[in-house]
């Protein structure tokens, strides 16, 4: 017949060993209580346009559009800061423009613009004066998307903003394509409106057009030509 005496110690041993193993491995490890900060590796918080009159190196101004993030990496609830996103340009004038991008969440502040220059072959800036009589290079927001503040949605109509933007730098793709980190703004007659600036990320698909890829940064500036 079956002998219970033979089993019990073994059963007890195994149950005990298993329990000990559980406790041994599971306890005294509280790593989860240390919370790592939320880091967005590909964050861009700030865009600056440095605009210099081509005829006068001292006639220079900067405009800044900024969207900071909270502790979970989401846009702060107050929304973007566009109080300094204003340009006042002279009519019928040519300006040299440098676009700067920053990540202010890193300490020290990281110059994303310099890195975009390194990765120029897969990035492209697009500029859209609003209102405009031109065919739209950047499609108007669809769905319930909106223009970046301060540009109202839908975009204003009426007298166009007399601003022509030319991208002056080129990447090193086999057919070099414009990048847009340096540009020329040519103003026409006095007018007011907005300028939308979009950075597109176009890995392996950059062809000079807007559509391929996805948006890295989308900012708006208020422009007065007088």
């Amino acid at each position: 017949m079956f002998s219970t005496l033979r089993i019990t110690p073994k059963a007890r041993f195994f149950a005990g060993a298993t329990l000990l193993a559980t406790l041994g491995l599971a306890s005294c490890n509280k790593d989860e209580e240390v919370v790592s900060p939320s880091v967005a590796n590909e964050a861009i918080t700030t865009m600056t346009l440095t605009v210099t009159n081509a005829a006068s190196a001292t006639d220079t101004q900067t405009a800044t559009w900024e969207q900071l993030l909270d502790a979970t990496g989401n846009p702060v609830s107050t929304g973007p800061d566009y109080s300094k996103a204003n340009l006042t340009l002279k009519a019928n004038t040519t300006y040299n423009v440098a676009v700067g991008l920053l990540d202010k969440l890193q300490t020290p502040t990281f110059d994303v613009g310099a890195e975009i220059k390194e990765r120029a072959n897969i990035h492209s800036f697009f500029f859209q004066p609003l209102p405009t009589t031109q065919a739209l290079v950047i499609p108007a927001p669809t769905g319930a998307d909106t223009y970046p503040l301060p540009i109202p949605t839908p975009a204003p109509t009426g007298n166009p903003l007399n601003l022509t933007v030319m991208r002056t730098d080129r990447d090193t793709n086999t057919t070099p394509l414009p990048v847009g980190l340096t540009d020329t703004f040519v103003t026409g007659a006095a007018s007011t409106g907005y300028l939308r600036v979009v950075l597109r990320h176009q890995p392996n698909v950059k062809d000079g057009t807007y559509a391929p890829g996805s948006t890295d940064f989308d900012a708006g500036f208020k422009v007065a030509i007088q």
């Binding site: 599971a26 790593d31 939320s38 909270d70 990320h201 996805s214 948006t215």
Partner: protein
């Protein structure tokens, strides 16, 4: 006389386990039945154990000595027949039709008194629920595919996809955390926070994949609201010698290659099985070593490549068994390591980009093939260590204790490198989950009319995150206790059970307003139950009905997530006040098994109280990349009901027609709307012709050809809001298959060819989340070779 633990451990189930038998699949509708008796006296031998080596299916003879195997594919099988006190017999049977084979066993004095513990396998605890097992040839036809794709052909089972490389199983319309996966008897605890988090399992480790359809919390604990997937390896060998198998798979689509092999052996304790006495304590040892490599490049839809959809997977597992006296111990370790490319055209910033992508006929990405995987991609490593001890007790009962430790590390790489080169090539998201579980169960003899399974389980789990915020760090404790009883009568088997579960969850994250670490705690508990029966109506008919409840506590992402989900182009907000989700599931199925006709028709109703889901908030949050629609985690009362039907007709022995339909209706009563990603209705048809005559021994003896067609209707009941594009049109895909078994001396080569999407049709599937961006995969010719040794 010593204890008879054999029948119990092998089958774990009584006679007439109709629903547990192997493999559905085209042409797999044959049956093998008969009676087992004592050669000398002619008396029936109830409880004698029959095992089909090829499918690992096991059955015990009923009180009259009858046995039945159903849903077999045509082919040659090795039938092992054993009973304590009798010499084991191995019969070679050629199954061509409904085969009746009576078996006579010879009493063996040598065997009397020997206690043998046959490979204690994970078995399905409930027989009154609808369930389907893939094993043997039916499983062989899915080799090289991922877990969810392997199960997709089963009625009532679907897969929800994120492009061609990432799939999750869907059972009766439920998926994700509502489908519990048991990997080698251990609850799979992976990162399951989103639809693009596929189960971290290598199907090559399994010789049986079983799907239990319907709520099944009772045995496995919380979460099994939709069903359970059992991934079961074969039992470790118990006879002397080394054996193994090599599997090679090549596919044209994605130029995917997969190879998997295992080797196994044993030093039996039992001289009758070839063991000696010379190796002392080593007797009783058995082992298996298994490894898989899988490489794939860019998948191709009918007309273009789906860029960056390669995959690289390398997995291995080690198993060690030791059987001495009444104790059977098993150690198991497995490592799953995968790198999966994500279609680059799915990286949309805002909803504007998404809508533009939907408007395009084809993506703007490059149309070329490569094996290279670039950003965006996922890299996942899942490791499982398991230790299990089974102790045989008097009266055919036993105690099982299973301890498991799992780690799951998931890295998600976004579409570009961090801008700051000082950060290096780091992921955008990293999550590391460590889980320890301990289960102890007591099982009484299944050979008696009354049998009971009772047990307790405990779990502790910790998750640590880095980089972006998707879910917070957390600590999770769980405990449960259950009792399951079964009474087996002449024609009616009744079963029922009760279970209590407790869950404690504490999250750790930085509060946005205070900047300090907050650690909210939630506690959930629930009692679940089940009641069911299986009635043998005679004439090959049987009826199974089941009433079950199941529950699921809210997960951390449902409670605390906050932020953009890039691949879903959505902004998801958790709700810390959510309560548990409770399912009330009823199902009934009628099974018929006759000479020419065989089939199963089952209906189910699953009412889910406080169903947790993402509800469109109908507002947008604007980031610097554009606007994202906001979705709130919320709760509603939802109803899932449907019908699964499968019929096989064999007008002549060599020809089999199979038709299967899966119908589902899912409705959200609280929001008075349909539910998103409810699988559309599906109708599968196939015909298979065995080329050889059953009695002939020619070269074509085990060769077959077949054609199949799957029709997937348009989802005509999409939700009114929450989807970006209308449900895609209905489609039907043709498939073809052929296979044969070649022999060179004693060596067997099992060769098969399958073509899916035969006519390279361009289509989009409602359950593929990348249907917004790209068509689904086109023609795929798959060649498979299995070499057992």
């Amino acid at each position: 006389m010593r204890l008879l633990v054999l029948a119990l451990l092998l089958g774990g189930q009584p006679w007439r386990a109709v629903a547990q038998v192997p493999a559905a699949g085209p042409g797999c509708a044959l049956s093998l039945a008969g009676r087992i008796s004592d050669q000398r006296t002619g008396e029936p031998l109830p409880g004698a154990v029959l095992r089909l080596a090829e499918t690992s299916a096991a059955e015990a003879a009923d009180p009259d000595g009858h046995y039945h195997f159903h849903q077999l594919c045509a082919g040659q099988y090795h039938l092992h027949v054993s009973f304590v006190g009798y010499a084991e017999q191995v019969l070679v049977v050629d199954v061509r039709g409904a085969l009746n084979k009576d078996i006579k066993l010879r009493a063996d004095a040598k065997q009397l008194g020997e206690v043998r513990v046959e490979g204690a396998r994970q078995t399905v605890p409930l027989i009154s629920q609808s369930q389907t097992t893939l094993s043997g040839p039916a499983l062989q036809q899915t080799r090289g595919l991922n877990l969810a794709e392997s199960l997709k052909g089963i009625t009532g089972v679907y897969s929800i996809q994120t492009g061609p490389t990432i799939s999750k199983p869907v059972i009766h319309g439920l998926y994700g955390n509502r489908v519990l996966i048991l990997n080698n008897g251990v609850r799979q605890e992976g990162q399951q926070w989103a639809l693009d988090h596929a189960p971290e399992i290598d199907p090559f480790t399994a010789t049986r994949l079983t799907v239990i359809k319907g709520a099944a919390s009772i045995r496995y604990g919380a979460d099994a609201i939709g069903g359970v997937v059992l991934v079961e390896p074969a039992a470790l060998p118990d006879t002397a010698g080394v054996s193994g198998e090599v599997n090679l798979v090549g596919m044209t689509n994605g130029r995917l290659g997969a190879g998997s092999a295992f080797g196994q052996g044993a030093i039996p304790a039992d001289t009758a099985r070839g063991g000696g006495r010379g190796l002392g304590l080593l007797h009783g040892l058995s082992y298996r070593v298994q490894g898989t490599l899988r490489r794939g490049g860019t998948a191709r839809s009918a007309n273009y490549y789906i860029q960056n959809t390669g995959l690289q997977e390398q997995n291995y597992s080690l198993a060690l068994g030791y059987h001495r006296g009444i104790v059977n111990t098993e150690l198991f370790f497995s490592r799953f390591d995968t790198k999966i490319g994500i279609f680059s055209g799915s990286e949309v910033g805002s909803v504007t980009d998404l809508l533009a992508a939907i408007d395009r006929d084809r993506p703007l990405t490059a149309d070329q093939f490569t094996y290279a995987i670039k950003r965006p991609y996922q890299a996942v490593v899942h490791q499982l260590f398991k230790a299990k001890a089974t102790v045989a007790l008097p009266a055919d009962s036993r105690v099982e204790a299973t301890f498991a430790r799992q780690t799951d590390a998931r890295s998600e790489y976004g579409d570009q490198l961090p801008f700051n080169p000082a950060l290096g090539d780091v992921p955008d998201l990293f999550l590391s989950l460590t889980t320890h579980t301990l289960d102890v169960a007591y099982l009484t003899s299944a050979a008696r009319p009354w049998s009971v399974t009772t047990g307790v389980s405990g779990m502790t789990q910790a998750n640590i995150r880095e980089y972006q915020f998707l879910i917070p760090n957390f600590r999770n404790y769980g405990a449960g206790a259950y009792v399951l009883g079964k009474h087996r009568g002449e024609r009616l088997t009744l079963e029922g059970g009760l279970r209590y579960d407790y869950r404690w969850l504490r999250a750790f994250f930085t509060d946005v307003t205070t900047g300090k670490i907050t650690q909210p705690t939630t506690i959930y508990q629930a009692v679940t139950g089940t009641l069911g029966g299986l009635l043998d109506l005679g004439h090959g008919l049987s009826l199974a009905t089941n009433l079950a409840t199941a529950w699921r506590p809210p997960t951390v992402n449902e409670l605390y997530s906050a932020g953009v989900h890039q691949s879903a182009a959505s902004y998801e907000i958790g709700d810390p006040t959510l309560t548990k989700e409770q399912a009330y599931n009823t199902s009934a199925s009628l099974l018929y098994s006759g000479q020419k006709l065989e089939g199963e028709v089952g209906g189910y109703v699953n009412y889910i109280h406080n169903y947790l889901y993402l509800q469109p908030a109908l507002r947008y949050i604007r980031t610097v990349r554009g606007a994202y629609p906001v979705f709130d985690y919320t709760q509603a009362n939802a109803l899932f009901k449907g019908l699964d039907a499968r019929v096989s007709y064999r007008p002549v022995a060599r020809l089999t027609f199979t038709s299967a339909a899966s119908l589902l209706w899912a409705y959200n009563y609280t929001a008075a709307d349909y539910l998103i990603y409810a699988p559309p209705n599906r109708w599968q048809n196939s015909v298979r012709l065995n080329l050889g005559r059953a009695e002939s021994a020619g070269r074509l003896r085990q060769s077959y050809v077949g054609f199949s067609n799957v029709f997937v209707a348009r989802q005509s009941r999409p939700p009114a809001s929450g989807d970006y594009a209308p449900a895609p049109a209905a489609y039907d895909l043709w498939g073809a298959e052929a296979g044969t078994i070649l022999r060179a001396g004693r060596q067997v080569f099992d060769l098969s060819l399958t073509v899916s999407n035969l006519f390279n049709r361009e289509y989009r599937d409602y359950l593929n989340r990348f249907r917004y961006y790209t068509a689904d995969v086109g023609q795929n010719i798959q060649l498979r070779l299995r070499v057992p040794f």
